[in-house]
Structures are given as structure tokens and as C-alpha cells.
Amino acid sequence: MTLLQSFKNAVRQRSIHVCYVDTGSCNGCDIEVLACLSPRYDLEQYGIYVHNNPREADVLLVIGGVTPQWEDKLKMVWDKMPEPKVAVAIGNCPISGCVYNRPDSLTRPPAKSYIPIAAEVPGCPPRPTEIIQAILSVAPLIFKDWEIRR
């Protein structure tokens, strides 16, 4: 591994840009993602920054049970993200539809049938610590030595 590569790895570990997309959640998980930004959890001390722009994001947080309106649009958001990228499903909804997964309901889970999901954080909603842990554990795996593996 070159010196440049190890420098890139070190910098990338502390510069993870997150975009979140709500595909029809009850707002519970959104509030927990918001709580990650609070001084109590302080996302930015780990070098994680939240913008809502897929074009500058490394990590996509998918929240919500994927309503019919989102079936094609989720892929559009994912395609806008530059490589290397990773998607993390936050909460039960993108995994299974949670309590909304009933006959005739307007959810089309799981999210992984539309885009590749690298990690899933179960919970309704998951705790901020669980969300931070998931991002921190999955992002370096994807971004480490990206130029070499590509």
C-alpha cells in the first residue's frame, strides 16, 4: 500500500458524509437520526457529517417502509451518489415494513429489493448509539483501499 493510499484511508475514516432519505416512515427513525446530531451523541466528533444532498454523500440512510411513490425514486437517489457509496437501512421499516406490513397497506418493503443495502439497524426506532455504531462499522469497510480494490 502506498503512502498516499494510507493517507486517504485515514482521512476518509474521519470524513463520512451522510444523506438520509425518508421513504415513508412514521418520523420516529428520523427523530433518532436527528438526535445523533445533538451534543449528547455529537456525530461530528466521529467525522460524520449530515447533508441532504446525494451528490456529495458517501452513506445513504434509508428510513421508512418504501411507499409505492418511492419504488422508482429510491433507485434514482442511489444512482446520484458518487462511488464509493454504501446504503444503511435504519429501523424495522426498510427491513420488513414493521407494523405497516399488513395486507393492503401502502408499503413495499424491503428496501434491499430496490438498492443494495450493506447494513441493517433493527429497532422501532433504533437508538442513536446503534445508528452511529452501524455507520462507523460499515463505512470504513467500504471505503478502505477503495482505489486499489476498484
Binding site: 466528533q45 414493521c98 441493517e120
Partner: protein, 193 residues
């Protein structure tokens, strides 16, 4: 030297590691108490597909299995289990302290406007089948001991309290006329003065 300390703090200071306290209600875990497969935990669970009571490899042994990604950590299964097979956070400790417990029953409603009196629900009900063998054989029942049966051309509920909440009737009804609602009641043991 002070400036070195300052630089270190400036760049590397972190808030204390965040650990989930043990009294938080986590996903229920299975203890080694014996499960009697009464299925109360499955009936009370509000999330579809979150808990299943299944047979293990050992003959005659049953165990509940919690499915992550479905379970919402409500803790109702922990509270309702009569054998305390499941555990999570301090649910049991608090219940023992305050003398609180949970009870549930089922309320069956039949919509008389759309019920056509076909009786599919009454012959599908597993409790009905046990009470009256006539119903188990898809026959006509005249028993008053059954949960419900077609009486005067309409499905009539006789013994709501015998319902175990499996919702087989709801699934089988072609008109979606019968509905089973779970009624939860949190109770507290009060000491008589």
C-alpha cells in the same frame, strides 16, 4: 507543554463512550425457563412476524424466537408470558416491585350488514372445533358452548371469552365481516385495607 495538551484535547476529545444502560428495554432474550407453548406471546405481539414459538431439536421442547427487523421492543411478550420465559431490561423487576401485570382478551365484532351467514368463520375456528365436533367436521352446530356460530342467518357470538386470538376467522371470512380486536388491560394487585 500546555500547548501540546491543548492541541491533543482540541483534536481528539470525545464524549464518553455511549453504552446502553442495562435497565433499557432491549430485544427480548430467551431465558432457560421452560416454555409451555401456550402461544400467548405470539398472540399479544403487535408487530407482524416478530415472534414465533417453534419446536427445538429436543423432543417436546418449545422456544420463542424473536425476529430482529420485525420486533419493536415493546416488551409485551415479556410481560404476558406466564412462565417468565422471556426477559428484557427491568420489566420483571418492576412488575414484582409494583405488583403490576398484564391481561388480555379478545373482542369479536361481526358486521351484520355484510355477513352473509356462510359460517366459514365458525368452522375454521380451532377453539370451536374442539368444543363441538360437528363444527370440526364442517357440519351445523346447535351448541351454545361455541365461541360463535350462524344463528338465524347471521354469525352470532356466544362466548367471546373463549377466543384465543388466532384470527383464523378473520383471515377466512370472504366478506371481511368478522373482526377480532385485542383488548389489553394493565392491572395492579391492590392490598385490601
Amino acid at each position: 507543554m500546555a500547548s501540546v495538551e491543548w492541541i491533543k484535547t482540541f483534536f481528539f476529545a470525545k464524549t464518553a463512550p455511549l453504552i446502553t444502560p442495562s435497565h433499557f428495554r432491549e430485544f427480548p432474550h430467551v431465558t432457560d425457563k421452560e416454555c409451555t407453548h401456550c402461544f400467548q406471546c405470539m398472540m399479544i405481539c403487535p408487530a407482524p412476524g416478530a415472534i414465533e414459538v417453534i419446536r427445538t431439536e429436543k423432543p417436546g421442547e418449545w422456544k420463542p424466537v424473536i425476529h430482529l427487523g420485525h420486533c419493536i421492543r415493546c416488551g409485551l411478550c415479556v410481560e404476558i408470558c406466564p412462565e417468565l420465559v422471556l426477559d428484557s431490561g427491568r420489566v420483571h423487576t418492576k412488575n414484582a416491585q409494583d405488583g403490576t401485570y398484564m391481561q388480555f382478551q379478545f373482542h369479536i365484532t361481526v358486521n351484520p350488514v355484510i355477513c352473509m351467514g356462510c359460517g366459514i368463520c365458525s368452522v375454521a375456528c380451532p377453539v370451536n372445533k374442539e368444543i363441538d365436533p360437528q363444527l370440526a367436521a364442517k357440519g351445523t352446530s346447535t351448541s351454545d358452548e361455541v365461541i360463535m356460530r350462524v344463528y338465524k342467518g347471521i354469525n352470532t357470538v356466544f362466548h367471546e371469552e373463549k377466543c384465543t386470538g388466532c384470527k383464523t376467522c378473520e383471515e377466512q371470512c370472504p366478506n371481511r365481516s368478522v373482526m377480532v380486536a385485542r383488548v389489553l388491560e394493565p392491572l395492579q394487585i391492590t392490598e385490601e385495607p
